[in-house]
Subunit: 144 residues, 2 copies
């Protein structure tokens, strides 16, 4: 299946635009684990080599939205800090009636709107303690 | 025209769920000014009488999204604090190829994703210093 993985980004880079190493590694392992199961994962920051694109943000974002329109499953990682980009893409996925998986680390309290989304018929939500468990949880959800 | 006005909400209520009076008044005047020009404004928190709905969030949110699908213009008020709900609805409006107006108080720095959205062809963005000027700015944009 084609999986679109939406992850927070701006909140994970330092003032020089360098991505948090642990977060990058967590997401890369998650992508690898999903791909080893035969899926094709698109994750924008990974595709952009973990650098914020200042060149043509319109082209970058509309490219991402096109990918969502074509994906089989849309997966959002939701943190305590709300990500503008993740939320926009989730609204876009909702409008495209995609199958949605919302994944948040244990202890994260969903905002009113995200909690509402979690109750939609085409949406599953899951909590995880460690990123290396997350791939398994996602695979169990989408392949059963 | 039908206008959907998306405003931050959770960040504007206190621990008891009571809405900030000044903000409520600003938005109510904005709605009134837009309606006096002959438009029909839907603003979810105003429709919900400025109370957070705990009863059936799925029904409330999907009702809002249905309104966006039918609106002529979608207007988002963007603050420094990212609103999960505003961002979801903006993604939904983008997917529905709506005419979008992004309005932010002077001094607000748009996130990467919101800045990217502001460059889309169907999106206009404006800054305002006072809410009572905002209606005029919006009307100038959408009726010219």
């Amino acid at each position: 299946m084609r999986l679109f993985l939406s992850v927070p980004f701006s909140s994970k880079v330092d003032s020089k635009g360098i991505i948090d190493k642990a977060f990058k590694s967590d997401i890369e392992i998650l992508i690898q684990n999903l791909e080893e199961d035969g899926h094709k994962v698109y994750c924008a920051p990974a595709a952009e080599k973990w650098k914020i694109s200042h060149d043509n943000p319109v082209k970058v974002l509309s490219g991402d939205l096109d990918k969502i329109a074509k994906t089989d499953v849309y997966i959002a990682i939701l943190d305590n800090e709300i990500s503008a980009g993740v939320q926009i893409s989730m609204g876009f996925a909702l409008a495209n009636q995609k199958r949605i998986v919302m994944a948040s680390p244990t202890g994260v309290k969903l905002s009113w709107a995200n909690n509402a989304v979690s109750g939609f018929q085409n949406v599953s939500s899951l909590n995880f303690s460690f990123y290396d468990e997350l791939a398994e949880q996602i695979l169990e959800l989408i392949t059963r």
